[in-house]
Symmetry: C3
Subunit: 447 residues, 3 copies
């Protein structure tokens, strides 16, 4: 298995110069050293840094709180950890990489022979220079991760093992931001924030979602947008437990992660499979790059597992670049700042923006003069000269919108049926609406 | 782009000798010189000639009548038109081809330099010997059409331009014929009559529909058949506006046009996409010629645009040979009497007849002894000897009709499912009905 | 056309040593000499032999009884038949093969020239050494069947023709066995018993169904199983006529026949096409052998014709090896004890058993904690170590069952969607049910 960067060429970026891409990359750089987990100081610090960019609301849920079938765990904090070798030298040092300690390790301080220590050490024999990433959230245990090459260099003898961590009652912390639009109906964008020094998973998601939120704050939107920065699994379960009665407002949702690598996009459909978000993402991905893929829902992966559990069954899909587990750097020290790029982050930002733009305009219309065609010529909408190819395409767009507007077909349905691009149809619909030939379904006066 | 006749071989005609084909061609020849338009004397004269073959009812709707979003335009008539050259010679002469004048041109009589005249002249640089066909129905204007070669031969200087036309209050005229059948439910066959000296578009449609009507008058039919000879667009809108409350009777419909060229057939489905007419036409076309095509509805083309507007959404498709715009002779002087043939007209007549024959027999039946098979042997319907292949096929047809007759499947559904031809199934149904083993759904005593 | 055995390789048998296969073959051997028909002593004797293996209930329906559109025919019995040649030698002898007499032949005893006799003789010129099988159930007639080679050897002259048969009021006899399960809902397995010395059609079906019944008697089942041993067509019609009000209990059904040859399986779907039995058989066949085929319902074949008549429309398919008429030995003396094998019978038994196993477990479940995932770890269902591939697969199975359990998807639906094998999902469902995380839909306490 080659590394992803060896295999794939760069995804072309369609848009403007690498501006927001650089900002996203800089945020990832700033967050990289912090030791995040599903609780604790590193995660809190991460949220505070994000808050410098967007007006995040930070919530604290006490340990022990019952959330559906689960409960909020004790808070984990770690100050230092190392293993001292035979000559007192640090053979493993948490200060060099927070991946060296199994995340959520209990405190430990004792001497032990190498043979015993080995039981607590994780390596990747296939990639002997990389440190793996391991966790033990729901089973009290401790351990170290290191490169296989380094493990092989350890001599037999007694080692001094030290983890200065704590597992105590505290809080689960998460960040949330609601950007209000004309409608109360919400679009949910959620990203997980529980991984320590790993870049694609999950700093790329954190950065992209932060700047996407910033972008939407700066403009008027039809939908309201709810952004979640939550620890994986337990964060989603906690949020859903608190907000159970409000989730009906969420009309579309995306789980954002793995957005900084060089691969094409993969969209995993919602459990419903044909939700509007599924159709919109598929449309945008297909026209942007033939290498992009759309796959069916499976009940494992990221927090779509919770949002798409049968009791919620929300229209929430998951949009990543290369899916988790499909590149060797995944969950290792090689998922570092070199593995992601400003260029790729920018491309991800653009695709998410484009999806949102289509969602915003994807209405269903009702033809107000449905019997025969209206006379477009007398309204200046019909080119009597002919010949102009763009004008011809626009006239077809007008006819398609008029013909398919009985309140059942969205503009995206019409785009798929007619093979006319969404934006031309949206412009046609806008022109027809201005002339009171069609009316958006369910649209109130101020939208 | 080659001409269609160069590209395509003749469509094979399955039927009898070229008899009705010659009659259809002769009618096209007779109508060819007339200068038709959406209103006026040429169109009225056309209807009168058709009336010699079938008892057409001719309606006159006054200019200014409101028809949905439109109004009936002023009547256009033209007596003569020409352009005189520097030596007084006619460089363009309406008497030689009525295509020379842009259809619906306002009257004009003045001298002008070539430079000004050019603004009003249309040619086809790609086909320098052909005269294009242009119209200006809904914008007052005037113009001439000519071959590009002739335009290039005009010298600079002053030309005397003359169009002796009139645009005055008058009538929109159309022809209609209802051939009553056993049922009040109607099959609509509509063709446009507004094109001047152009043969495939639309004399082929006019001729074929005339003789199809004549054919149906001469026999007993299950359905009633309504034939429309109307100017394109405004004619359909006018007819629908007048008959809004009656269109519910129309169970199946076809727009007939472009039926004289040598190409295979193309059927454009109704907006519904799966109406019975769509299924029947597809079935007949598929088995007649592999080159025939069936395409989805698009909201431009001929009068299916109006019949399939969302406020009507009628089960009306469009059956042509080579579709409009897909052959270079389309809307040019090359769409002349040599472009169409008696042979092709006859083939079109046969396909339309076959479609009607299938429609007439395509019933749904109810099995009157639905529990287990009835004993066919004691009714003389089961060949106890075996061996005869046709007898075997007929017995399968009996079993298929019995098994699928719970009132939901038409004979065409059974034909598709069983791969037994429609006619054998119709004969099987007839035999079973005679023996009171099945009953046609919704059939009254006298049908 | 080659014989089937020349063309096909043996179907691989997945299971244990040839044990039940030998028993099934032995039963076929014992039944082979009997002259069965749709009524009469041979058929009664057959049922009595089956009764030695399973507690069959034998029913007798009098001749003349009205059964839907039919009536039970006179009982046919035959003691002897022959044709004496010119020197008094037996040129045809019923004692050598009961196929020599057309089944249901009326009694006859007279001398006649070869020319007249020929009118009553059936041969197979294509397979000159084989005797064909012919019947004349519903038309009083008589005849002989012989090899074409032997017919060609007959000299001109007078022959003495003798058939000692009787057609008298009597009974139609059939066997039935209900193996009660936890539920009253039934699975129907029906086989025809009316063919004389022919092995694949129908001794293979009789043997396989007998031992399948024996197998199910010996264990606890969820469903009740109803086994029918009936003469073809008239037997099914008679049984349905008597049991019309009870057929609603039958949830799944299979017609069993042609199960001893070496070919792969062909399943003909029920008329419904997507009944649970159709899905289950397709699933089992697809994973057992790529050569297996599934075809749509057609209204001829075996007794599915009656069970799937529109007035019943039962979920009954037909599962054979090589379909009737698709091998040359079909309905000839070459369908003998060498044409079938213990090996093939055993393979058929295993496929039927596997289908029943899937049916028995194919429930729909309701997730009792549908909001977010339940915490599997605290219930010992989540492998915290990772790495074990089987453990991983099982965890995916748990997640799939939880996610798809809203009462609408069967385990088979989940198997198809997830590509996880049915048995793993059934085990996952069982584990989840034990821990009260899911509940089978419609399951009562004692099931």
């Amino acid at each position: 298995m080659q590394t992803l960067q060896e295999v794939l060429k760069e995804t072309p970026v369609t848009g403007h110069a690498v501006g927001v891409g650089k900002e996203m990359y800089a945020l990832a750089e700033e967050l990289y050293p912090l030791c995040r987990s599903i609780t604790g100081a590193g995660t809190r610090r991460t949220l505070e840094i994000i808050k410098r960019h967007i007006p995040l609301v930070i919530s604290k849920i006490p340990s022990g709180t019952k959330v559906f079938d689960w409960e909020v765990p004790k808070e984990w904090n770690i100050r230092d950890a190392y293993v001292l070798g035979l000559q007192g030298q640090k053979v493993i040092d948490f200060q060099k990489s927070n991946l060296h300690v199994v995340n959520y390790s209990s405190p430990v301080h004792k001497k032990m022979p190498l043979q015993e220590l080995r039981q607590h050490i994780h390596t990747l024999p296939e990639y002997p220079d990389w440190i793996p990433y391991r966790t033990t959230y729901y089973k009290e245990d401790w351990g170290f991760c290191m490169s296989h090459r380094q493990l092989q260099g350890l001599e037999e003898g007694t080692y001094d093992v030290y983890i200065d961590s704590s597992l105590e009652n505290g809080y689960l912390t998460f960040g949330e931001l609601l950007v209000k639009g004309k409608q109360k109906e919400e679009v949910l964008i959620s990203t997980h924030i529980c991984h320590p020094s790993l870049c694609n998973d999950n700093l790329s998601g954190i950065s992209m979602v932060t700047f996407l939120a910033k972008h939407l704050i700066e403009r008027k939107n039809r939908y309201s947008y709810r952004f979640l920065f939550i620890p994986g699994t337990i964060g989603a379960i906690t949020w859903l437990s608190i907000n159970e009665l409000k989730v009906g407002r969420i009309r579309h949702g995306l789980i954002a992660a793995l957005l900084g690598d060089a691969g094409p996009f993969t969209y995993k459909r919602s459990r419903r499979g044909d939700a509007e978000i599924d159709q919109v993402v598929q449309y945008v991905l297909e026209r942007n790059d033939k290498r992009n893929k759309v796959i069916d829902f499976v009940p494992y992966g990221y927090d779509e597992r919770q949002f798409c559990s049968p009791g919620f069954d929300m229209p929430v899909g998951c949009l990543t670049r290369t899916p988790y587990g499909e590149y060797p750097e995944y969950h290792t020290s090689a998922d570092n700042l070199e593995f992601i790029s400003a260029h790729s982050l920018e491309g991800s930002f653009e695709v998410y923006s484009e999806i949102i733009d289509v969602l915003e305009s994807n209405r269903k219309y009702v033809n107000l003069l449905p019997k025969c065609e209206p006379q477009l010529g007398k309204r200046g909408l019909y080119d009597t000269m002919g010949g102009n190819n763009d004008a011809h395409k626009f006239q077809l767009a007008l006819l398609w919108v008029l013909n398919m507007s009985e309140g059942e077909h969205s503009l995206l349905d019409i785009a798929r049926r007619s093979a006319i691009d969404f934006e031309t149809l949206a412009e046609a619909a806008s022109q027809l609406e201005k002339r009171e030939l069609i009316k958006a379904r369910g649209k109130k006066r101020d939208q």
